[in-house]
Symmetry: C2
């Protein structure tokens, strides 16, 4: 099951990446989520390739570190999604 796309994420092809958009009802929730993403990536030693955000949304792109998505990228995706639970609009 390790090659399954994490629930809620979109897998992109070239280059391989996982993408997900998170929407929040206010800036405070957006900001709190960004702080939790930072904590997750520091804990895992792996960062999303790009995080693009505005006042009430955060788009996260996780790229494959070595040409193909692996357990590390999927774990990062799942941990980030878990960090948004309960606060997404």
């Amino acid at each position: 099951m390790s090659d399954t796309t994490p629930e809620g994420w979109t897998e992109q092809g070239r280059p391989p990446a996982l993408f997900r958009r998170f929407v929040f009802s206010c800036y405070a929730d957006t900001r709190a989520f960004l702080d939790r993403i930072a904590a997750v990536q520091e804990a895992l030693g792996l960062a999303p390739q790009n995080i693009s955000f505005g006042t009430t949304y955060v788009n996260v792109t996780i790229a494959a570190a070595d040409g193909a998505l692996g357990d590390a990228e999927r774990t990062l995706a799942q941990r980030i999604a878990a960090a948004a639970e309960g606060t997404v609009a």
Copy 2:
């Protein structure tokens, strides 16, 4: 002079916006800059339309609130640029 594009920023046309890319030598500097941007926008009550970042860069887009760029947007741009001073790579 209030209609001058802030130094280091690119002014875009449709829709009107100010754009600037900041590059850092490490994630810690990137992260510190993001925290300072948050403090600036909370102090001014005005946020960039979009902030897109990776481990060592931050792209900032400041959109016109009401159809045209004004002093508020230029002040936000200048305060954000000042927050990066001394840490950009």
